[in-house]
Amino acid sequence: MTTGEEQIGWSRDEMARRLALDIPNGSYVNLGIGIPELVAKFVPAGRTLIYHTENGLLGMGPSPAPGEGDPELINAGKRQVTAIAGASYFHHADSFAMIRGGHIDLCVLGAMQVAQNGDLANWSTGEPGAIPAVGGAMDLVAGVKSVYVITQHCTKTGEPKLVDRCTYPLTGRGVINRVYTDLAVVDVTRDGFRVVELAPGVEFEYVRERTGAPLLRSAPLATGQCHEHACGCDAKRRPV
């Protein structure tokens, strides 16, 4: 698609870069398949994150050089990866003990729908005839300390992904803490969705029109490029 709307807001890389700014040094992070994987490319210099992949590796490194991969060293997306110095391998029950036991600091996932109460739907359209496949998503959202979604604000057909109530089958109930879209960074609060930052050139009203649930605005509401500090820092953010 090459509509005008695509010009507005953050690109996928920019979304990933924006999210990466908010991950503190030393975090244990599980990145879902797809856009979430991009986050690893944009971790600011000076921070070390440790990547967990639920198929049994802590300390996942980047893709191997061509021809140097090992079919027995893969990530949860079944792509060949590497292991950093300081990595460890373990079996699946231990791996999900890390997840379920609250040892992973952050999980970043894609989404089909996120509801204002934090419900997530990202595994099934519920259509008859579809092959149901859930993988580790339900365990991740139930166990990891913080769960962020990274996704386009709307579907390819323009439907909002941030909704009043998920219509697709749930992955987890009240599990999402924050959503990073091409248009904004949106917290899931007790009062519902709250925009904490707008992409450059994106107005609050524009986002509200494309959101399927009430949208609160934060004060100070930030926008733009001012993210040399980690999550929670309001330095240089300008209120909208």
């Binding site: 079919p71 027995e72 079944k78 292991a83 079996h91 699946h92 029950a93 339900m138 089958p169 992955t171």
Partner: protein, 236 residues
């Protein structure tokens, strides 16, 4: 003397009966015991219940076992893969039953089965369609589902090295379900690249102690699913 070595994959799966439950290790192709699966296809047992994280790709290994019509039910977290048409076809035409289990719950059910824990509680899947029919219960203000331990008649597992006592070490992320499936199966069959003498594996680094393993088979150069699929291979 204790010697759990079997001469061949065929010998090691010769007594799998019709109707058996069989855990099959692997996450995607990593750790998939292709040679043992192919031996099971040759052997002919049918009406199997297969417990495995995936359902294979192409028409080799696990997908070939399904394609051969030997499996009546799969217990699985992700039965959908690139290059996977066998399971979808069987499922859509109603020729195979699927019990879909979240991956961590699947792992923990297998570990519980092996550890003599008949049931446990997990927060995964609360409030989702996969909670349907399951007992739920609150602990400290949070809701959990009760899940049952899972055991099987056989497990087919791929390791890296083993000794005649059945001690096993694995390779990288091919470890995945191997150690817990060995615990949960009445008869755990492990294929390894190399069988070494007792005492050659440092007791500190053994991942699966021999008590969990009944049979060990050497397969010096195991096949890789992705290479077979890329080459368009089928089995048998």
């Amino acid at each position: 003397m204790i010697d759990k070595r079997y001469q061949s994959a065929a010998d090691a799966v010769a007594d799998v009966p019709d109707g058996a439950s069989v855990m099959i290790g692997g996450f995607g192709e990593a750790g998939s015991p292709i040679e043992l699966i192919h031996a099971l296809i040759d052997q002919g047992a049918r009406d199997l219940t297969v417990i495995s994280n995936n359902t294979g790709s192409g028409e080799v290994g696990l997908a070939a076992l399904l394609k051969a019509g030997r499996v009546s039910k799969v217990v699985c977290s992700f039965p959908r893969t690139a290059n996977s048409t066998v399971f979808p076809d069987l499922y859509r035409s109603g020729r195979i039953e699927l019990e879909l289990v979240p991956q961590g719950t699947l792992a923990e059910r297998i570990r519980a089965g092996g550890a003599g824990i008949p049931a446990f509680f997990t927060p995964a899947a609360v409030g989702t369609p996969l909670a349907e029919g399951k007992e739920s219960r609150e602990f400290d203000g949070k809701e959990y589902l009760m899940e049952r331990g899972l055991r099987a008649d056989f497990a087919l597992i791929k390791g890296r090295r083993a000794d005649p006592y059945g001690n096993v070490v694995y390779s990288k992320t091919a470890r995945n379900f191997g150690p817990i499936m060995a615990m949960a199966a009445r008869v755990a069959v492990v294929q390894v690249n190399e069988i070494v003498e007792a005492g050659m594996l440092d007791p500190e680094v053994v991942v699966t102690p021999g008590i969990f393993v009944s049979r060990v088979v050497g397969v010096a150069s195991p096949m890789h699913e992705s290479e077979l699929v890329a080459a368009g291979a089928t089995y048998p």
